[in-house]
Each structure stands twice: as C-alpha cells, then as structure tokens.
Amino acid sequence: MGSLRRGLPLLLLGLLLAYLAVVPLVLLTLSSFKPEGFLDDEGWVLDNWRAVYLGRDLWPMLRNTVVFALGSTAAALLMGTLLAWLVERTDLPGRGIVRVMIVLPLATPPLLLAIAWVLLLSPRTGFFNFALMDLLGLQTAPLNIFSMGGMIFVEAMVLLPSVYLMLAPAFRNMDPNLEHAAFVSGASVWTVVTRIVLPLLRPAILAAAVFMLIVCLVVFDVPGAIGMPVRVFVVSTLIYIWATESPTGLPLYGQVAALAALFVVVLVGLGVVYQQLSLQGQRFATVSGKGFRPRPMPLGRWRWPAAAMVWVYFFLATIAPLAVLLVTSLLPFQTRITWEVLGGLTWENHLAFLGNPRLVLAVKNTAVVALVSATAVALLSLLVSWAVVRSKARGRYVLDLLAFLPMGIPGVMIGVALITVYLTFTAIPIYGTIWILVVAYTTTFIAYGTRTTNGVMLQLHRDLEEAASVAGAGYWRILRRIVLPLALPAVVAVWVWVMAHAARELSTALMLHGRNNTVISTLLWNFWSGGDGPRAAAVGVWLMVALFLLVGCWQLLARRQEAR
C-alpha cells in the first residue's frame, strides 16, 4: 500500500505525459498506413512509406538538412555557451542589460526575423550589402543571405536565446569554489573553462545540443523564407509541400507521418545517448548543503574586449534586425531602406494593427494561452525532472523519453492529431477554442522545459533532500521548500521561454485556428499573407515591446532575489 502511495504521483505524471505524447504518436503511426493519411480512410497500405523512403526527393534533402542542422546547432551552441558563461560567471560590464538583450529576439517570430535578414543581407536590396559596397568600393554585393550559409546564420540567431536560457541557470548554480581552487593552483582561464566549467555543464550542454538538433530537423520558417527561393531544400520543405501544397488537393498526411518516423527514431537515439551520458548524475552535482555565494570570475584585461564582442553580437543579432523591422513597420510597403524612403515614414501600419476589431480578443486569447501553457510546462518540467533525476523507479527514464518525444513530431501532425482527438472525444469540448492551443503548446514545449530543468536538477546534490527527509519532510514539502527554490531560476527561464514562444507561435495556431481562438500571431499572419509585410512587421514590433516588458520585469525580480 505504501509503495503504491509512493508510486502514485509518478504514475499520474506518466499517464499525463502518455496522454500528451503517445496519443499523437499512435495517431501518427496509424495515419502513415492509411491511403491518404486520414484515419477514416478505408484499408491499410505501405504506399506512404514507399513514397517517402524510395522516392527521389528525400535523400538529397536529407543531406542539406544535416548540414543545416549541424551548422546551426554548432553556431548557436558555441555562441550561446560563451554568452551564458560571460554573463553568469564573469565580471562582464553591464550584465543586467545584456541578459535582457540576449533573450529579446525570443519575441520575434522567426518568419519576421528571416525577413529582417533578407532586408539586411539580400544581394540586391540588403542594407548591409549596400553599406559594404559603398564603404569598400565594391561592384557587387559581398554577402548573400539566400544561401545555406545565410540559413545557418539566421537559424543560429533564432536558436541562440534558447541555448542561453537553457545554459544560464546551470552556469548560475555552479559552485565558484571549484574555479577559485583551480585559479589558486595556478590554472589559466582556458584550463578552468575546459577542465572544470565545461565538463561540469556537460548534461546541460548536451541537452541543449540534442534539443537544437531536433528543432533544426523540423523547423521551416527560416528554410522557407531564405533557402526555398533559391532551391536549398531541406526535409521540412518536403513536409511543408506535402502538408499545405500537395498536388493531390489534399494534404499528404500519410507521407508526413511516415517521414516523421525518421525524426522520432533519431530523437529516441539522441535521447538514449543523452540519458547514458547523464546516468552518473552525481558527478555533475555542484549545489550541495554547503552554502556558496556566486562570485563573478574576473576577466582582467579581457573584460572590455569581451564586452565589445558581446555588443557586436547584440548589434548583429538584436539591434540590426529589430531596427530594420521597426523601419519596415513604418513604411507604406516593403522596400530597400534608403535615406529617401525614410522621408515617407508613416504610423499607418501601427494604427491599422491597434485599430483592428479583433485586437482585444486576440490579446486576451494570447495572454491566456501563453500564461497557462507556460505555467503548465514549467510545473510539469519541474516534476518530470525531479522524478527522473531523483526517483529510483524503473520506469523513470520512460517519463523523460515521453516528455522528449513530441519534439520529433512535426507541428502539423500534432495539430492533425489534436483535431482528430477532440473531434472524436466531444465530451471535452475544446475543438476550435483556445484550450486546444494550450494542449498543443504544452505538448510541444514540454521537451524544452524538461531539457532545461533536467540539467539543473542534475546539479542539485541529494544531501539537501535527504537531510529534509530525515527531518520528517514529505515529498511535497521537500519539493516546495528545497527543490523549487534551488531550481527556480531554471523554472522561471522555462516559463519565460514558453510564454514568448506561445505568444509568437504561428504554424500550430494556424493549424488549429477555429471559430473562437484568434491570437496575435494569426492577426500577424492575416497581414503578412494579405500582402501587408509592413503591417506584419508592426505586429512583430508590438510583440517585442510586450516581451521586452516581461523580460525586464523578470530580470528586475531576479536581481532583487540575488540581492537578498
């Protein structure tokens, strides 16, 4: 009876995750064996698998996809780790503002960010290209965003804030005594970073790497806006064409599902590797019963060069694209930015957005969806990570895998699965409402949440919880009084990340768009797809303002917390 009571929370958590992850996966599998991919189709076939894996489209695109995914992940990981270390562990000047600036691009829908970079680096109208041609006296544009390199660059910019948010809490939780001991023993900065810091952060870095790799397999915004026009096709291009522009007149869900099986296999493989490498969790525990106060590592003569590098990064990653989007939002139509066009700026796009009759409803819906999804993902992530890292139950790694699985399912198929589920189980009347979006985002973003909280949970030494347990504290008390306060930076980071992503997310919102669930991103899409790029940019600017306030408040609270 006692063991049942102890195992009950784990069981309930498992059931909830199974509902979120396994239902779409089962529907996905069934769909791949149906003639046109709809569950009501008659008969079972292997045609979709044959069309995908014996067809001529997949393999060349897979090569591009691997280059794109590895390149983007490596670039984002390298810069994200460096920035997280500089901001969280060193005496870099202006760290408070830097923290806010790094996560600011989270508010920008990737589609708009890609458009911003087209405006900056396209060969015939790119602002930077013209500036460089003027400066260097060149006849042709030196840079071309429409290339694999351009795709990797922009995707790395999209991913970087997520890498930072995944790694920053882990850096923050590291006991500085280890580094100080190394310095006292005469170790150089390089030695400390490569022999102490990076090995200790291995679970968090690995989690971020695995997460980003999978994201790059399924992401379409950047490849669609930058690669597709010049025929740099990746696997997600195939998914896009099959799902929305199929020559049959109906989406080829069966083929999308068969292709998704490849993602799920890759994901499970990476997930198992990740678990194997994280098994010896105690090796990474740096937060123990011994108290420590974070002390920033002095950068010495590298302090200002590091600051300069960080600000150059800000200029490229944040200021330049945001500025170009802001200017575009003030133009009557999308055009090359010159001194002449700056003379004709207008507020009309912003007024059109602010005067939209659906704005109030869309803002309310977006706020509810983002708040509820973020809170659900943050709480679930904490519970799942705690169970996975602390529990000794046999099935605990299944929990971790369940939380990770939805990442490998293309968003379009999660949408299809949810539509099918809630059209079938009408007792849960959420079809066409904002709540189906909440379920979709919780399912999709739980993978990010658990990657982040797992990394931090591995750093917490068992002795704190064991001491509490010996003193008579129960599970919930230990969770509330010990685990939650220590993991709070990571939980809050997850909450902010999900808030931002749920607020800007477009493809699932469009897929599940119904009678009563218009959100801000669908308003943005209304403008964009109706030929009003500048008005879409205006929506993007307001989204960024909202997130800037959110992130600003978060940082303010975090600083107060640190000061106590």
């Binding site: 009501d40 096709f233 896009y240 522009e245 049959t248 009759p357 079938t424 109706g530 030929g531």
Partner: protein
C-alpha cells in the same frame, strides 16, 4: 443523427410554390426561391461557418455586404491557411456531426476530392438563378478566379524590356532575376491551351532562368516592390496591395491567361444548410461577386461588370475544371519537379 438532403430543408410546400413560379417567370421564381431560402436561413440557430483563405479584414467586408441584403442571416468566416488545409479540415470534421463547417471555398482539385468523399451537398443551383457555367455540377459554384499575370518593377525594367507576353518572360536578361510561386499552377494550366510539348518546353526554359521560388505570390509581389527582383509571374490580386500602397509595380495581362477558380460548396453535414446555400448563391450574383472582388481583388470572369471579367475579355482563359482533376494533378506534379530542379528534369 442523419440529416435530410438539403432540398427538403426549406419545406416542400415552399419549393413547390417556387417551382410553379419558375415555370411562369424564371427571374421572379428565382427571387422567390431566394427569399424563401432567406426566411429559412433566418430561422437557423447558429451562423453558417465559412472556411476561406482570405484575411478576415477582407471577408468582413463581404459578409457586411451580404448582411445589407439579408440582415437577419449570420455568416462567420474562419480563415484557414489555404485550400489544402480547408479540404483536410472538412474531411476531419466529417467524423463528428455538428462540428462541420457549412461552406468551403477552395480550388477545383480540392472540391473534386471533397465531392469524391461524399462531403458536399448536392444543390439545384439553377433553381436559385445560377447559370450552368457558374454551377456546372450540383456540388459546387464558381464564385471567382485568380488570374496569373506578369508583374514587374518599373524602376528596374528598362522601357525597351517592358514585357508584353509570355515569350518576354524567357528573355535571358532575367537570368536569376525573376521569380514565381513554388507550385506550378500557371504552367500546368498552360498545357490546356498550348498542349504538352509547348507547355513543357516553355516551363523548362523558364526554369532554366533559375527563378526564385516563393511560398506565396504575395511574397513575390513584395520582393518585386522592394526591388529584389525586377520581374515575375504572379497573381493579379496578390499584386494589388503593394500597388495600392504606392509601390512602383506594374502588371501585364497574358493571353492565354491561366486562372485558378475559387469553387464554393455547401457541406453535406452543414449545421446551417439554408444559410450556407443562400450565401453561396448570393456570392454568385452580380452584387455578391462585386462585393467579393472589392474585398479580395478576385472577381468572377463569368459575371459581366466585374473588373476580372473586364481584364479577361477577349483572352483565352485556361483552367482545368474539377472533373479534370486527375489530369491536372499529373501536370502539376511534373511541372513542380521542373521548377524545383531548375529546368533540369521534365519527368
């Protein structure tokens, strides 16, 4: 619960009355049928849900015009991404009676698919005043068409290079400087006017110019307005927003003109079938067609007085109809490959 076929929904007596009137004076009978339908529609509890891919700011204006004519009848537009998405949603919703949309506006191949799955209501549209051209089959109505045109930036195309027809699109000076939609709809439609060899050759030659391929013709128009490309093959209505905002963009109409018609149908399981039929029939009237064209820039080539009909006057309009879907799909698949491969394969 199984629903009765739609023609029994208005009431047998009303239809008999309308039928008798039809025998006497057709126009009067059609008006009477529409008025009776409007009364039945006003009694329906919910709004008719209309799946269509235009922005809601545009369809609001269409519905407002409809409500000026029929103030007590409610229609709610739900915007889905495109025709494929709409067709998929209709298929999925069919599993749950009561959840279905009432009206779907999609292209010929999608409407053919939906009818093949028995998801569309069979309606006697002629009784409501529609011509055979507008409603060639009982399951659908042609309400408007999107026409393909050459789009160019007048600041980037010199006077001696201003295009006049299809062949000018193949000018070598546009090598790497032209663009079109990723999906080869206009090229596939050309086979109907030119036959296979010429359409294939044209598409391959165009593809060898290495055109940029866009997800949407709206994006293409924006890129031409921005100056990234001097010229492209786009859609008339997708170019109107940038022209309206003062971009230096011009349009050249083509002969033959490929079009993609918007076919609109009532769902077999429509919760508000009378409202749905009334709305579709109204869209096919001169008033409805003008309202739809004013809002979405896509008008009916079948109704005199619309800008689209004016633009296409004297031109050969080419498009595969719903019943030719299988043939059209084969061309589309083949020409999509040609565009994607930059003209290297013709299948």
């Amino acid at each position: 619960m199984n629903r009765p076929p739609h023609d029994t929904l208005v009431g047998r007596r009303a239809l008999l009355g309308a039928g008798a009137a039809l025998a006497a004076t057709p126009a009067l009978a059609q008006n009477a049928a529409m008025e009776e339908l409007a009364r039945a529609a006003a009694r329906e509890s919910g709004p008719a849900v209309w799946y269509e891919s235009s922005p809601q700011e545009q369809t609001d204006r269409v519905i407002a015009a409809f409500n000026r004519r029929y103030p007590n009848v409610r229609v709610q537009h739900v915007r889905l991404v495109g025709g494929v998405d709409i067709a998929a949603r209709m298929v999925q919703e069919a599993r749950t009676p009561g959840q279905s949309a009432d009206i779907a506006s999609v292209s010929a191949d999608q409407i053919w698919n939906l009818n093949g799955r028995n998801l569309l209501a069979q309606v006697d549209w002629q009784r409501l005043g529609l011509t055979r051209e507008q409603a060639p089959a009982p399951f659908t109505v042609n309400i408007a068409a999107a026409a393909y045109v050459i789009v160019y930036n007048r600041n980037l195309v010199p006077a001696d290079a201003v295009p006049r027809g299809w062949d000018d699109l193949l000018d070598p000076r546009w090598q790497g400087r032209t663009g079109t939609w990723l999906i080869s709809h206009p090229f596939a439609q050309l086979t109907k006017a030119w036959g296979e060899p010429r359409a294939v050759e044209f598409t391959e030659r165009y593809a060898r110019l290495n055109p940029m391929l866009f997800r949407s013709t709206f994006t293409l128009a924006q890129q031409i307005a921005a100056g990234e490309l001097p010229i492209g093959l786009g859609l008339w209505h997708a170019t109107q927003p940038v022209i309206a905002r003062g971009a230096p963009v011009e349009i050249v109409t083509l002969d033959p003109t490929p079009t993609t018609s918007i076919w609109t149908s009532v769902a077999r399981l429509a919760p508000s079938p009378n409202t749905a039929r009334l709305f579709v029939a109204w869209l096919a009237t001169a008033e409805g067609a003008r309202a739809y064209e004013d809002a979405t820039q896509r008008g009916s080539a079948l109704i005199q007085g619309t800008r689209t009909a004016e633009m296409l006057r004297g031109k050969t309009v080419v498009e595969y109809g719903p019943e030719e879907t299988d043939q059209f799909r084969r061309w589309l698949t083949r020409f999509n490959d040609v565009l994607k491969a930059g003209g290297r394969e013709a299948g």
